[in-house]
């Protein structure tokens, strides 16, 4: 009987919600007392081990894990009031907008209170990973040229050797990728060099990608020599000593994206959502994220290792590039630079 209703429910939600999901898995337990619903931009293979660990701790809770792109996820919560207990996204700007516009609820516990202030906002938004935007270079692709140490080096290298690197540069298509847009706007905010770099890359017939994994694949296959603004945690997961690709640290600045979790106002089971946030932000949670998910957990000390490590700050500043006019101008300018 219950399954029947669940079926009806799924069916009806499927009809009501127009946002697109990529993947959904239910982690069922033998005797369930409740169901925790998570919607996330993070691929299932990163999160499945974490959810297994969660169910070891809480053996009576079913978990439904839904994967969607950051924009679909945002639309689902913002426009359609989709019912999830936890929303996890790497699109910091969209997460901040959800909080700012009052679609989330506050959560406070001993675990969240002990988080550093830069890793949370308003007690609504909680960061649990810090992932750098990196330049990945191919040993073969770069050849005898020196590895660039900063963006000025990279600009000079590309400008001085246009024929060598033509068609060998990959970066996000920021019109399609939320993470790419976030990294690009933060670059533009950080330094005027960004537009010069964009001009140079644009002049070399760059290849544009939807996501980090595609860029890394292209690099490994020798298609491109440089991949700019790849999510560092994905790069670290794919690359090892024997790989052709390697991360080239840029010492002018390296932005860190914070993957964040929040509880939407429409959450059917907000308490469970809060419990899951505690589970991923406390000390054991950090260890699990590192070991099981292979993602770098929040760590203030790691960020203070280098002067040029810059975590992107959570806050209303991120709303600026979500302004529709601002976004349009930015994309127009970027497109002009990239497609010469």
């Amino acid at each position: 009987m219950r399954h029947f209703f669940t079926l009806i429910f799924l069916f009806s939600t499927g009809m009501v919600f127009a946002f697109e999901i990529e993947e959904e898995r239910t982690f069922e337990v033998a005797q369930s007392s409740a169901t925790l619903k998570i919607i996330s931009t993070t691929d299932l293979n990163y999160f499945a081990p974490l959810i297994d660990a969660y169910q070891e701790r809480f053996p009576s809770i079913n978990v439904v894990y839904t994967v969607a792109s950051s924009t679909e996820l945002f639309a689902g919560i913002y426009d359609e009031g989709a019912q999830y207990d936890v929303v996890i996204s790497s699109a910091m700007d969209l997460q901040v907008k959800l909080v700012n516009d009052g679609l989330t609820q506050s959560y406070q516990s001993a675990d969240t209170s002990s988080m550093p202030t830069w890793a949370k906002w308003r007690n609504h938004l909680f960061a649990f990973t810090q992932e750098p935007a990196v330049l990945v270079a191919s040993k073969q692709g770069i050849g005898d040229f020196p590895t660039p140490q900063n963006r000025q080096d990279l600009i000079s290298l590309l400008r001085d050797n246009p024929d060598y690197f033509r068609g060998k540069i990959g970066t996000y298509d920021i019109r399609k990728s939320g993470a790419g847009y976030l990294f690009a706007t933060q670059d533009a905010r950080q330094s005027d060099l960004f537009w010069r770099l964009a001009e140079v890359i644009g002049s070399l017939e760059p290849k544009l990608y939807c996501c980090s994994s595609d860029m890394l694949n292209a690099l490994e296959s020798g298609e491109i020599a440089f991949a700019y603004n790849v999510v560092g945690s994905y790069a670290s997961a794919v690359l090892d000593e024997s790989s052709d690709g390697f991360i080239a640290p840029l010492s002018d600045y390296t932005h860190f994206m914070l993957r964040t979790a929040l509880i939407p106002r429409s959450a059917p089971n907000a308490n469970l959502g809060g419990g899951f946030i505690d589970f991923i932000v406390n000390a054991q949670g950090k260890a699990l994220i590192k070991e099981k998910a292979g993602l770098p957990p929040i760590d203030g000390e790691a960020l203070s290792q280098h002067q040029y490590y810059r975590p992107i700050s959570l806050g209303p500043g991120l709303l600026v590039y979500l302004d529709k006019l601002k976004r349009q101008y930015f994309l127009d300018e970027w497109s002009d630079a990239m497609e010469q």
Binding site: G102, R122, S313, G315, P316, G317, L319, V320, Y321, D323
Partner: protein
């Protein structure tokens, strides 16, 4: 002496309560003032940042071929994020049409005069926000286009500051009240102290100390002390007059009586007829009686006067008893009376010497008067549990059924004493003196003939 005066409440407490009420009112005012000022300051500084944010957006307005270009600078919002974790809303209208931002963010009621930013609080969606509104007019193709910029922020930081300020203000108010309260208490005490000092100065005085108060007092008390000194002066002169009067009265009554008696005795000796001798004896007897009455009346007045303010001292009671016996021994001898005395040596008591002497004198005099010739009077004086007892017993005519309560009435004499000279005041005085010393006086019929009088102090 120690009569309670009806009280209309404590001056000190009244003063303290009034001071505490003032302190409480001032504390409350302090609390409200600190809150109001701090909140105003918080609102003002918050408004400044909101205004700066709106100005930053206005600065970046530009034009291109299509018209106005709105390029919100990152700092416009990040500066708001830097000071608090409040939510930020904005709206930008070009010629009264929303170009970007939150369309439902309420615009100011009157946006005609917003070339400088204006600020207002309003309800927006589920929360209250503070809004900065600024208008910038920009020429596009030589036509002025007005751009209205609204930047709004929720008020959580301000509410937090308000709550903190409220706590600080409350602590300030309570602290102020406690300090003021303590100071009020000390002030009240030191203000009321001179009053107690005056009261103590008067209370400590002996019964006959009628000097005016000389110690300096606060000016507010000087009318009281002056009145008190006037009163003391009047009392003193009145008492002086009374004493002088009594002494003079005794003198003026006794001296002519003594003259009359002497003349009557001379006349008696020279009298030739029995009839005139009898008459003269009657005169002498009457004079004696008058003289005695006069001195007893004066004694009685003295007792009434002194009982109110006993001048107590330590008296050698043994010596006093002997003295009284000695003083009356001549009179006793006239009647051939034997006086047997059993007197404990070295007894001393506290009392008014003059009064006690009068009492003992009267008792012994009575015993002598009512004793038959050749009789015996026994006097006993010893210490007992209550204090000390003086017992005198005669072999006279006894009480003859007369009650003690009747005999101690003023001018009352026993039915069986008509033939003896007496004023009817003696026992009255003894009783009064015993009472004044918180002692007792008991008259009893002896089992044989006579009376036994017991005077205990």
């Amino acid at each position: 002496m120690n009569n309670a005066v009806p009280s209309s409440g404590s001056l000190g407490r009244r003063l303290l309560i009034q001071l505490l009420i003032v302190a409480a009112i001032l504390s409350a005012l302090l609390y409200l003032a600190v809150r109001a000022v701090a909140n105003q300051a918080a609102v003002a500084s918050h408004d400044n940042i909101l205004g700066a944010s709106a100005a930053a957006i206005a600065e970046q307005l530009g034009t291109d071929n299509d018209g106005i270009v709105i390029d919100i600078p990152y700092s416009a919002f990040s500066m708001l994020g830097a000071i608090s974790e409040d939510r930020v809303f904005y709206r930008i209208d070009i010629d009264n049409e929303t170009a970007t931002g939150y369309e439902d963010l309420p615009a100011p009621a009157d946006s005609t005069n917003t070339s400088k930013p204006i600020f207002y609080a309003t309800q927006f969606r589920d929360t209250t926000v503070r809004v900065a509104a600024q208008t910038r007019v920009i020429p596009v193709n030589n036509k002025p286009v007005s751009v209205l910029i609204l930047v709004a922020q929720t008020r959580r930081a301000q509410d937090t500051i308000s709550a903190k300020v409220a706590n600080t203000a409350a602590a300030l108010g309570i602290g102020f009240f406690l300090i003021a309260g303590a100071m009020s208490w000390f002030a009240t005490r030191s203000t009321v102290k001179p009053l107690y000092a005056v009261a103590n100065a008067i209370g400590r005085r002996g019964a006959h100390d009628l000097r005016p108060l000389q110690s300096p007092v606060p000016s507010e008390l000087s009318p009281l002390v002056k009145s008190l000194n006037d009163f003391i002066a009047r009392l003193r002169s009145s008492l002086n007059r009374t004493e002088t009067f009594m002494a003079e009265a005794a003198h003026h009554v006794r001296t002519p009586l003594a003259t009359v008696r002497t003349q009557a005795e001379i006349a008696l000796r020279q009298a030739e007829t029995d009839a005139s001798r009898k008459t003269l004896r009657t005169v002498i007897r009457a004079v004696d009686e008058s003289s005695r009455s006069a001195s007893q009346l004066l004694d009685h007045a003295m007792i009434s006067y002194r009982s109110d303010q006993l001048s107590t001292e330590e008296i050698d009671y043994t010596a006093l008893v002997y003295e009284v016996i000695r003083a009356l021994s001549a009179t006793a001898e006239l009647k051939d009376l034997a006086v047997l005395s059993d007197i404990e040596p070295g007894v001393s008591i506290n009392g008014d010497r003059v009064l006690i002497e009068i009492a003992l004198h009267n008792l012994l005099d009575n015993a002598i008067k009512y004793s038959p010739f050749d009789g015996t009077i026994s006097i006993e004086m010893k210490r007992d549990e209550q204090g000390c007892l003086f017992k005198i017993s005669d072999q006279g005519r006894g009480l003859d059924g007369n009650e003690q309560s009747a005999l101690v009435q003023r001018f009352q004499r026993g039915e069986n004493a008509k033939d003896v000279v007496g004023s009817g005041l003696g026992l009255t005085m003894v009783e009064a003196i015993a009472k004044a010393h918180k002692g007792t006086f008991v008259l009893q019929q002896n089992t044989g003939p006579g009376t036994c009088a017991t005077f205990s102090l």
